[in-house]
């Protein structure tokens, strides 16, 4: 395999990791604050649809992105109202969001665009274009470094860069700021936060607002960056894989990035391997496509060890007598 082939797999890895990474970081904020979020999938799907629909109608990727983030945020707040204010079961609230998103996107898509649930293909401007970083073309001729910079680092959608920058931002926020300290505390021992005179409810809402916005970015990536328009069940379980990555990374931002890159790499490999032969027999494409999901199960079951999440996760906070 030559350098170009390797670069092309790694390039695909970055592209395929990005939505996982954004969703994983989204989940990190929520779960670190003590709200289990199995609804990442639904929120991404809703955002993908909203972004695709608005971009198709207005012809603007940026308006599409806004719409995606807005819808994701609204969905998150709905989920938050159920699980924070009304102290409902967080798992059920998340599952409800997933079912709502799966049904509503197809229904609204068919009603508005009559294309079997898909949104119309996007014209130029309706979709994010890859960004060529400065000097990418000039450096392309330099051996090794040139192709790496030009092929691997340069030439991605803006959301890709946002995703990786968010890893550093999240690590900083979590460990170096007052907000992060309180966020981590509220997921571990909300009573300690309450007795310190900080509102648990407010702190948790702040966390899920970030979750909503990041999920919006992740969803929009599917329909208006990677893809051109929304298709049925476009997120294909990526929200669950992001959740698995979050657990595998033990709720820490930098390990989360590497886990998402690993899952992205497997996905890239899977695409590359399609049509590959083993002992003269072509491996069924379905078997190869299943690889990332199989790995998710194997990693979670076998390699992760004991993953201890935020202690107060999943428990609505009640001031007791």
């Amino acid at each position: 395999m030559d350098l170009f082939a390797i670069l092309s797999i790694l390039d695909a890895t970055i592209r395929l990791s990005t939505p996982l990474l954004l969703a994983c970081l989204a989940g990190l904020y929520s779960e670190r604050a003590g709200i289990f979020d199995i609804g990442l999938e639904g929120k991404m799907l809703a955002a993908a649809f909203a972004a695709g629909a608005v971009a198709a109608v207005t012809g603007s990727a940026w308006l599409g992105l806004m719409a995606g983030m807005g819808v994701s945020l609204a969905t998150t707040l709905l989920q938050g109202a159920a699980s924070i204010t009304l102290k409902g079961n967080q798992l059920i609230a998340g599952v409800a969001i997933n079912m709502l998103a799966a049904g509503m996107t197809t229904f609204l898509g068919q009603t508005w665009f009559s294309q079997g649930g898909r949104t119309p293909p996007l014209g130029p401007g309706g979709r994010f274009e890859p960004i060529t970083l400065p000097f990418a073309n000039e450096l392309a001729g330099v051996p090794i470094i040139g192709p790496i910079y030009a092929e691997l680092i340069s030439g991605h959608y803006i959301l890709v860069y946002i995703g990786f920058i968010m890893v550093a931002v999240t690590a900083f926020v979590l460990y170096r700021t007052r907000f992060g300290l309180r966020l981590r505390a509220v997921g571990e021992n909300p009573k300690a936060v309450d007795t310190a005179g900080i509102s648990v409810v407010l702190q948790r809402y702040q966390a899920i607002i970030i979750t909503g916005l990041l999920c919006g970015l992740a969803g929009a990536y599917f329909s208006i960056a990677q893809g051109s328009g929304f298709g049925n069940n476009m997120t294909a379980g990526k929200g669950y894989i992001a959740l698995a990555a979050l657990i595998f990374a033990k709720w820490k931002p930098v390990p989360a990035m590497f886990t998402c890159l690993l899952f992205g790499f497997l996905d890239a490999l899977q695409i590359r391997l399609q049509g590959a032969q083993l002992g003269g027999v072509e491996i069924p494409v379905q078997a190869i496509q299943a690889l990332p999901y199989v790995l998710t199960v194997v990693l979670l079951a076998g390699f992760i060890g004991k993953a201890v999440g935020p202690k107060a996760g999943g428990v609505p906070y009640t001031k007791e007598r």
Binding site: T177, F179, L181, R184, A185, A192, G197, I198, R321
Partner: protein, 536 residues
């Protein structure tokens, strides 16, 4: 002695003034009137104790002062100024800090992070942490409160965690420190350290409010003491002018015998015989080493000893919960087959009832209703059903009888067991075991975490069983309890019964020496063993 409100005894216009004044505080939770017209004045620069039984309203009152609840009516004055304390943040701003019974710490945070949480100076943490580190250093020196600021909470001892709580309050500028049952989770050594710290705090001009139900602590450390009973403040007295007996009477509302009144034992035939018992713990270390003793009908035998000298393993082995390595347990002339997982059930069937040391973990399923716990372990008796079916009516009937006989409060058999107080939970377990009319009753720590009023009741029930001709084995770490209940005392040290004593004649000093492994009658085990301790 008088039971009327006697604040006036303390009111001799203290030079330092009042740190806290509460006037006519009322708080209701639904039908429960938790605080009724409470008046309380706490003198600045003193340690003020608040005693009362569980549910007397002590914690509610302090939560109102700390802003966790708001009073329905009444006035709070802090340093003479009327204040409406809306939340904990406000209380902290007024210089009131609280150390809760269950610590309010984030386990995977460092000491420093816990101290800073909620009291950060700015959006970025670094300046806050730097300042806190310096401030902690100063506080540690001033109050002799040594803690490593970078240690993670879950790695440090309970006593250290409590220090962090105190430091947290001091860091926030607390002038008045409320401690809610601070010694419940501490070892005696840690409790002594805490008292030393509290005295230092008082000497530096801080005010300390100590909530407890342990009279010994009140007598040892407080300057003034207020007594609460059933939501009311019944008295405030100077500690120097009162006695444990008087306080106990104020707490319970009637005379309480701190010593048990019992007639001489009238032992009959031998009911329980333990022969050459050897038991190992979960790690395989031998904890009970060749122990033999016998208990006769109508006799209470107490096993005294410092916790961790094999008493737990002895109890678990006799009651069939832990396999013995060798030895026999003979009940009523017949050897008991205690091996295997159903050993405990066989022991029960043979007439050996057991009140375990840890009622919450082994005596009850705390999420069950009272009536379900009332038959637990006896649920397969024909009286409570046939075949796979439970006779719920019969079980509930038995539960209702227990509640009545043992005065369990509230008298509601459908209530979840975790909602009963410690004393009432213990009564539920005792009733279940005693009402099966066993030949032998084995009791571990009968009154651990139980109110004074309930202690008296439980002690009387135990004596009553003895007088009915049962054999009773009592294990307790409370030496006072063993001395007042037992007819014979066996002292256990390092898995061996090192001596026997007559509670009527043995002094506390003699028992203490034996508990440290020194017996002047048998072979001396040498000094220094007590310092080494029996266990790592």
């Amino acid at each position: 002695m008088n039971t009327q409100r006697s604040d006036t005894t303390v009111a001799a216009a203290p030079a330092a003034g009042w740190a806290i004044e509460l006037e006519k505080i009322n708080k209701r939770f639904g039908a429960v009137h938790a605080n009724k017209d409470i008046d309380l004045r706490v003198q600045r620069g003193t340690i003020h104790g608040i005693v009362g039984e569980n549910g007397a309203g002590k914690s509610t009152l302090m939560s109102i002062l700390y802003g966790f609840y708001t009073a329905d009516s009444g006035t709070i004055r802090v340093n003479g100024q009327v204040q409406e304390i809306a939340d904990s943040r406000h209380a902290l701003a007024l210089g009131i800090g609280m150390v809760h019974q269950h610590f309010m710490l984030v386990d995977n945070f460092s000491v420093l992070e816990n101290v800073v949480l909620g009291a950060e100076d700015s959006g970025f943490l670094k300046p806050s942490l730097t300042r806190a580190r310096k401030e902690l250093n100063r506080l540690e020196q001033e109050y002799d409160l040594e803690v490593d600021p970078d240690a993670i909470i879950e790695d440090v001892s309970v006593g250290q965690q409590q220090r962090v709580e105190i430091l947290k309050a001091l860091y926030r500028g607390a002038e008045t420190l409320i401690l809610d049952e601070p010694t419940g989770v501490l070892t005696p050594k840690e409790a002594d350290d805490l008292f030393r710290v509290l005295e230092t705090l008082r000497d530096q001009g801080k005010t300390v409010i100590l909530i407890t139900h342990k009279l010994r602590e009140i007598m040892a450390i407080t300057d003034n003491v207020s007594v609460m009973r059933q939501g009311q403040m019944v008295a405030t007295v100077k500690t120097a002018e009162t006695s444990p007996e008087q306080l106990a009477e104020l707490m319970v509302g009637r005379r309480v015998l701190l010593r048990v009144d019992k007639s001489a034992a009238n032992p009959g035939k031998t009911l329980l015989e333990v022969q050459n018992l050897v038991v190992a713990d979960d790690m395989g270390i031998t904890r009970v080493k060749d122990v033999s003793f016998a208990i006769r009908a109508g006799e209470i035998v107490g096993i005294a000893g410092v916790s961790g000298n094999g008493q737990t393993e002895l109890l678990e082995s006799i009651t069939g919960m832990r396999d013995q390595k060798s030895g026999t347990v003979v009940l009523n002339g017949k050897p008991l087959a205690l091996e295997g997982d159903d050993g405990a059930a066989r022991a029960r069937k043979a007439g050996l009832a057991h009140v375990p040391e840890d009622r919450q973990r082994m005596g009850l399923v705390t999420t069950f209703a009272e009536w379900e716990n009332a038959i637990l372990g006896y649920h397969d008796k024909p009286a409570y059903g046939s075949g796979p079916f439970l006779d719920i009516a019969a079980a509930k009937k038995a539960a209702a009888d227990h509640v009545k006989l043992f005065d369990v409060r509230p008298a509601n058999i459908n209530l979840k067991s975790s909602l009963f107080s410690g004393g009432n939970q213990q009564k539920i377990v005792l009733a279940r075991e005693m009402e099966q009319d066993p030949d032998v009753l084995v009791i571990g720590q009968p009154t651990r975490g139980v109110d004074i009023g309930a202690i008296e009741f439980i002690h009387n029930e135990i004596i009553k069983m003895r007088d009915e001709g049962k054999a009773i084995l009592l294990v307790s770490v409370e030496l006072d309890e063993i001395r007042s209940l037992a007819d014979r005392i066996l002292v256990m040290f390092d898995g061996v019964i090192v001596g026997e004593a007559d509670p009527a004649t043995a002094t506390e000093g003699e028992l203490g020496l034996m508990m440290a492994g020194i017996n002047k009658e048998t072979a001396p085990r040498g000094l220094g063993i007590a310092e080494q301790g029996p266990l790592p």
